[in-house]
Amino acid sequence: MMLRRPGAVAGVAIVAILVAAVAPWLPSYPLTLLTQALIVAILAMSLDVLLGFTGLPSLGHAAYFGVAAYAVAILTTERQAGFLLCLVVGLVAAAVAAALFGLIAIRATGTYFLMITLALGMVVWGLAFRWVSLTKGDNGISGVPRPDLGLPWSLWGPLPFFYFSLACALVAIVLLGLIVASPFGMSLKGIRESESRMRTLGYNVWLHKYLAFIIAGTFAGFSGVLWAYYNGFVSPVDVQLVTSVETLLMVALGGPGTLVGPAAGAAVIVFLKNFVSVYTKRWLLILGAVYIGVILFAPRGLAGAFHRRSS
């Protein structure tokens, strides 16, 4: 999709160059928020593969994010594992979780799919919360060190870690862009538009959906790996229902099926959450109002609102 939209590619490149150029002059707090936005943007884009391109509204996407984040947290704090091992284990863990859950979830459609993914997400939350010997339960796992990539710059500094996250986000957006622009991605869109038509045309609809589910889960895992390193702390909050729903909001806000939109939606929500919580303790109230406002006033997301005006 992105390849057919040179405007979007140029836009991403320009934004990336701009933030990369501005970053060294930013104080550390906005820089940290920017880093967070990049990591969460990967999560939002991964969900967009399901929601926007395949038409599957997953309510448990934080599960794959969380599985990978926990894998990294456990490996680094208990085994002092290096970055490459953590990355691979995190991605594989997320992909396996998605492959298992997908077997159950893909059978269902519509509302059932939504509810099943919610319940499966709760399984992961339940394990994180109760399997204390592995996950430390409610206390979470703290003291995750920043990765050592053997570079001259330590990733403990906010600026090098920001560039690292930017590079990761660019890798994710390019890979996801290639996937959704491929013939496979086109078939996903076909399924979104009409499952029965695609089935009649001879496509294996189940397999397409299942692969999309695993791809989305794996990229959510990528985001989870980065999150564990960024935050230095992983807890059941990272896999709870609200995290999954917040990701849905980012996609809905940015405009499903555009990849770039959900990434922007992620940035908006991250900044909004953090700025509002500086000024008032009542940020949940405001966030709730944002949910309702988005649905009432921008049902097709910011990208949709923008398109309507320009066309």
């Binding site: 077997l103 919360f129 109760r130 229902l241 849905l248 009542r282």
Partner: protein, 286 residues
Amino acid sequence: MSSEFWIIQTFNGLSYGALLFLLASGLSLIFGVMRVVNLAHGSYFMLGGYVGLSVVWRTGSFAAAVVAGAVAIGLIGIGMERLFLRRLPGQTLGQVLMTIGFALIFQDLALLIWGGDPYSIPVPRFLQGAVRAGELSFPSYRIFIIVVAVVVAALLWLALDRTRVGARIRAAVDDGEMAQGVGINVPVLSLAVFALGASLAAAGGVIGGAFLGVYPGADFEVLPYAFVVVIVGGLGSLPGAMVGSLLVGLLDNFGKALFPELSYFTLFAPMALILALRPTGLFGRA
């Protein structure tokens, strides 16, 4: 394991299942009639508990607390349905995001009004103590919950199966457009069902508040249980909600007693199995 263990755990599971029925039957009915996935349903449970708590503090009457909780939250439900959800017919994602928005607002308002401390609703005097049977003792309050759930289930079944309004609701569940076409006022019916579902959840919150407690976060804690009940039983089915509640209550209780670290897993894994065999739940229709 002694037989006492099995009897007591089964009893506990049944009483928890009874509470879940109060919560989930409304969710299932609401879904059946309106196809709304209501993520604020757990909030009704929590808010009901808080309203009940305030009423108990003022009046000391448990019955007044249940009624006040049910009425207050029923009105909130009416407001939500009438002013907001009705604008989003058939938009599942929109409904999910909107109801979660409400859930967040309710959570924050509850924190603002009642603070962050956990409370417990005092059990009325005549329900304190326990019924003894030989070596075993069964808390009276848990027996009371089971009785309430059985009465509510019987009333719901009678209302749905034996009355004119019930026949209209069943028609709306089967095919809303067709029901509207033959002159049934589906919007008014939807509103009534929504209010009833919210009230039932709130009553469950007051009743549950005496043994689970009333605390911030209760909303999102009970929500997945309600969802699992509805998924297992089948969306929009009253018998499904009954069987699902009992199953989930028992599974959860034995899971927590036998495998404390994996308790959620022991709840959700059988659900996954049931879905693998019957994707629309035990009593649901596609």
